[in-house]
Amino acid sequence: MFDFQAQENEDLIQNRIALLERMVSKFGDKLNFENPLNMSFDENLDSYYPLIKELKTFFGFNFFLNLWGTDTEAEGQTCLQVQLLNMDTHQRLVIKFMVPEGQVVPSLTNLWKGCFWCEQETWDMLGVEFSEIPKERIFSPDGMEGFPLRKDFRPKPFQLKSSKYEFTPDPRVDREIWKQRTVLEKDFFLGEVNGPVKAILECDEDKVARGRLEVGFLHRGIEKIAEGLEARQILVHLGRINMNCSSFYEQVFCDGVEAHLDIDIPERAKALRMVINEIERIFEHLDTLGRVCDNLGCKPFLFECLEMREGLTQILKEYSGRRMPHQIIILGGVFKDTPKGWITDCLRVLEIVQKKTIEISRMISKSTLWMDRLCDYELDSNQALSWGVTGPNLRASGVNYDLRKVNPHYFYDDIDFEIPLGINGQCYDRYLVRVEEIFQSISIINQLLDNLPLGSHLSKDARIYIPFKEDVYKESEALIAHHKLIKEGVQLPIGEFYNSIESPNGELGVHLLCNNSSRPLRFKLRTPSYYSGQCFSDVIEGGEPDEVPLVISSLNISIGEVDR
């Protein structure tokens, strides 16, 4: 077993080198590969579409990660960045294009369907036009003037326009048949799904022919706010994007900043971060399980899930002193060592959670009623890859891709755990994958807590460490360091970085562009629900309008993540 793995690793490294050589021979000096896992280069806009198509077909960059724009200092120029992933060698590539004002960029939706919202958002936020993409506001309120992420944007009072979405004729059917279809608008604002969202469905005799989600009801503009804030203040906002898995957002940001500053955090902090993250993973999966049970009308199971979540909340509260955004993970480690007796409490609660989850899954997994309702709404692997879906939804379609295995950080390499895979990509598979992931997470936490490394829980690097309070009151050196860190913030050197992590819903990435000050020039999040929200329109096809909340909750589309 061990030899086989080593062999696989060698093959992987050789593949990586081979791809890198091919890239260098093609693009030459332009290619920037300081970190061979994250490459980047600049390119002229004329070769935008052919180049990306070539990268997809001949270089194996078959997965679309993200597309975003940045307002540059040059007048009227926007820097458009496309991020791709090679799933065989797990290498990421960023291509940058300079777009002058008024230039129409060809759309990438022919290559990957998941670009649609990204391109629409780029128009909404920065005013970059794409061909074949409707010029409609997706996140910011309709009727607003200007583009929020431009540096010269000043908000003005505005009158809200009411716009109605209209489907274009369906190319797959006759126009006459299409005209007989009815359009339903369903809104879910009362907590049926995780956040406010509107589903627009085109129905053909009680069956959904086409459907899409309208989002933007929870858009807070966190990317805009973050441009004026320093690292510690951004952390406060990040914890509130998705309350169920706030620690992942905090970690992906802290980890990225630490790597950018070249700071190594102590081993105990790494292990504790992993423990907190896995607890939150269980927390999020229990939420999904509860919502699915709720939408199927199984109220007792919903209450069981809420009960288990309450137990986990209490555990996190005991650690940090607050209930919901517990803010345990901070720059340089975790803010506090484990309290006395916390490990025993944690293990006890996890044992109960495991017992109860086994009980629930035994009762419902094989029941005919459950399978009849859930064995539907298929998302096959090709569709999932085209939409850019990651996480349990992708694994339920049978694609083995988990960042904890393919690109292990911290101690995931040394820990025994397995990745559950589905076959059909139906709601039932997604449910099974999530339930199995709960058990795997519990076993990870057990292994970690058994071998928790000793030592400090916080890195004392002067660039990020705020001295201990009592020292600040007594010693003048500590006072000066404290004053400097608070007044000026954490200084981020010139450069940009991308860091990603396997969150409970998929790949969560953060992209930061820094300019030698404490405030970032551009802050971009790659949230997993953004892409599973788009694949809703494929999944709902042929379904019933009443089962929309079930589909949304089985895909676990968290609107807070989508809208940001």
């Binding site: 916390w342 109960i352 009980e359 404290h482």
Partner: protein
């Protein structure tokens, strides 16, 4: 297949019903058992911001504006004394509705003048009560600075 378990096979309907009936009773028992899962450690709970006083009854705050600058929701507003440096502020208002209780202001304070020690505010009946001024923040829970060094909850950041 999910860890090679035979999960996709349907089971017999009647057998399944029996299984469910059999399982129902212990499930409801487990509800009562898990009520014991509640934390006993209630020391480290964070609360609302309060201003501390020195032993002579004056405010410890020296109006250095660090907390006002770092607050991510901009809910603190301070009016310093223009004639004297490092003096008690003339005004110190906290908009308690905007506050997210993140604790950054206490971390930023170099003289331990503001603390997240107060009782969490309950429901407020009108917007008039939501801006807490200097006097209210002082008397809200009456913390004296002499208590430094006792068991204080550790703050994030």
């Amino acid at each position: 297949m999910i860890l090679e378990k035979k999960l996709y096979k349907r089971s017999n309907r009647i057998l399944n019903l029996l299984k469910v009936l059999n399982k129902l009773i212990p499930t409801y028992w487990s509800l009562f058992i898990s009520r014991g899962v509640k934390s006993k450690n209630k020391e480290a709970v964070l609360g609302a911001p309060v201003l501390t006083t020195k032993e002579d009854g004056k405010l410890a705050c020296t109006s250095c504006f660090l907390c006002q600058d770092i607050c991510p929701s901009h809910c603190i507003s301070i009016e310093g004394n223009p004639h004297e440096e490092e003096a008690e502020p003339l005004e110190f208002d906290v908009n308690i509705l905007r506050c997210t209780f993140c604790g950054l202001c206490e971390v930023a304070c170099p003289v331990d003048a503001i603390r997240m020690d107060g009782k969490m505010p309950g429901a407020l009946h009108s917007e008039m009560n939501l801006i807490w001024d200097k006097e209210y923040l002082m008397t809200y829970s009456g913390v004296h600075q002499s208590k430094i060094g006792e068991d204080r909850p550790l703050l994030p950041y």
